[in-house]
């Protein structure tokens, strides 16, 4: 159940996509998202879908696994789709109570849904094929120029990587505590909202306690190994572009040109 959330969970297989430099993947994801917002026509979306499927196939992550990650946004999707269908003025299709569904609204809603789904799938490909550490390394390096205007890029990146690292640990911990309390007869499923909220206490208190304990332990372990921020810190594995990254950038460039092209053809 909780394990179904795929964002932030690395899928460990060996593929050309996994091997890319994290900066390439970050840039690729950005370009892909921008391209989604540039086009509107069916052809554009088809190309977008085709490109996404191609990347997913290359990454060797099962499609099923990526689609499962969409579960988390189903509600968001439903809300925005219905808002668009019913609140866009235009030609009426049908009416429920006082709400008019319009043709224009339907079209916008479909476009939006497609965009959102592709966006989430595209970013899941990135997080599934890049370890959180690589990802923040890539972010730190790409945003390094911000250091000049006194943005603590390294610290933010470190905080992010720790947060990402802790997600699966805390999920596991939740699972463990839940089981331990269920063994003592706790019931997390039945009952009304108030009873359910109350039944969360035996879960949340130990979870917070353990999160704080882990945080202090980690801070102490880092200090014991002389961590003192980004100043003068070197990397064990400095990021370096390889040939496959140039190939990837070229592919992305071609894709982007095609997407822009498609927009102006009609």
């Amino acid at each position: 159940m909780i394990r179904d959330i795929t964002i932030g969970q690395y899928y460990a297989v060996d593929s050309p996509i996994h091997k890319l430099d994290p900066r390439t993947k970050l840039a690729g994801t950005m370009i892909y998202i921008i391209s989604l917002f540039l086009t509107k026509g069916i052809i554009g979306y088809c190309i977008g879908a085709f490109f996404l499927l191609f990347i997913i196939r290359m990454s060797k992550v099962p499609l099923k696994y990526i689609v499962r990650g969409l579960k988390a946004i189903v509600i968001l999707l439903l809300i925005s789709v219905s808002f668009n269908i019913f609140l866009t003025p235009g030609e009426e299709i049908f009416q429920i109570w006082k709400l008019k569904a319009t043709k224009e609204g339907l079209i916008i809603a479909v476009y939006m849904a497609v965009r959102l789904i592709f966006l989430i799938m595209g970013s899941s490909v990135m997080t599934l094929t890049t370890t959180p550490n690589d990802l923040t390394d890539g972010l730190e390096k790409s945003l390094g120029f911000l250091k000049k205007i006194k943005v603590p890029v390294h610290e933010i990146a470190m905080m992010m990587s720790i947060a990402l690292r802790f997600i699966p640990i805390l999920i596991e911990e939740t699972d463990k505590i839940m089981k331990a309390q269920m063994a003592r007869g706790a019931d997390f499923e039945t009952g009304g909202i108030i009873k359910k909220a109350k039944s969360m206490i035996p879960l949340l208190v130990p979870l917070f306690v353990s999160a704080f304990r882990r945080a202090t332990d980690l801070a102490m372990a880092m200090e014991a190994r002389c961590y003192r921020g980004g100043e003068g810190r070197t990397k064990m594995k400095p990021l370096k572009y390889k040939q496959r990254d140039y190939v990837a950038y070229t592919t992305l460039f071609v894709y982007f040109i095609i997407m822009i092209g498609v927009k102006y053809i009609k």
Partner: protein, 286 residues
């Protein structure tokens, strides 16, 4: 209150990149009033196996029968099962949450829907069993030492008055005295109330001393299942899977090699002492 497992398989992360086959075709029968020691090297699937026994996880394939009733049946009451089978997790102190020690121990019986008086009596009795006196009742569980927390957590499960008690390494990280106290309390429960006990432990000495039956897990499979004497006879094979026999078993084996007429089935220090003393007496007399 017998539990029967038939061909239990459990796979973690089925459908992910690296599924883990944690229990592999395990078939067992646990009878009333047994004291079972469960051992196996780290990651051999002990914790996974015992979670099946009170329905916290459902086997990927295979069936569990509880008094003849299949636990995967629609009308099977998990709640009842969990009230009868108490499970103390590895590092149970991480599950404490109440404001006071006493309230925390009351959590389990409260969930059973008992009356207040009964709940309090059970909590008091459980705390007494684990050796915590009244001065602890009103303290916060978070300000206790690790070993004290452990005792509170164990009391929390004991207060549910289970018919089968499963303990996953209850003594890891405790001092020798604390360890003996807790194990003796468990032994007492077994003897007085005839509760079935399943004790997971990495200590061969503890298992040899307390268990009547030993189950050895290796890579998710049951490797040996028998009395301590039967199982520790295979001490060479146990070593191959990262375990060992109790120290005294090695000593008696060496004595045997030196020409002593001593039984090699000895697994506890008390037995060894008795045996050696008789041999000495016989020598003196002859």
């Amino acid at each position: 209150m017998s539990i029967k497992l038939e061909h239990i398989n459990y796979i973690y992360g089925e459908g992910s990149a690296s599924p883990i086959h944690a229990t592999n075709d395990v078939s067992l029968e646990i009878k009333d009033g047994e004291f079972i020691g469960l051992m196996g090297h780290t990651g051999s699937g002990k914790s996974t196996l015992i979670q099946h026994l009170n329905g916290l996880i459902r086997p990927t394939s295979g069936n569990i029968y509880y008094n003849g009733k299949n636990t995967s049946d629609e009308d099977f009451s998990m709640k009842e099962l969990r009230s009868k089978v108490g499970l103390v997790f590895q590092y149970p102190e991480h599950q404490l949450f109440e404001v006071t020690v006493f309230d925390d121990v009351c959590f389990g019986p409260k969930n059973l829907g008992l009356e207040k008086k009964e709940i309090e009596e059970r909590a008091k009795h459980a705390l007494q069993l684990v050796g915590l006196d009244e001065s602890y009742y009103e303290r916060s569980p978070f300000e206790l030492s690790g070993g004290q927390k452990r005792r509170v957590a164990i009391a929390g499960v004991l207060a549910m008055d289970p018919e089968i008690l499963i303990l996953d390494e209850p003594t890891a990280g405790l001092d020798p005295k604390g360890r003996d106290e807790i194990l003796d309390a468990i032994k007492l429960l077994h003897k007085e109330k005839n509760i079935t006990i399943i004790l997971v432990s990495h200590s061969m000495e503890d298992i040899a001393k307390y268990a009547q039956r030993i189950i050895v897990m290796d890579k998710g499979k049951v490797k040996f299942d028998g009395t301590p004497k039967e199982v520790f006879r295979h001490y060479k094979e146990l070593e191959q899977i990262g375990l060992a026999a109790p120290q005294v078993t090695y000593i008696v084996h060496q004595l045997k090699e030196k020409g002593w007429n001593i039984s090699t089935d000895i697994t506890t220090v008390e037995e060894a002492k008795r045996e050696i003393l008789t041999i000495w007496k016989n020598r003196k007399n002859s």
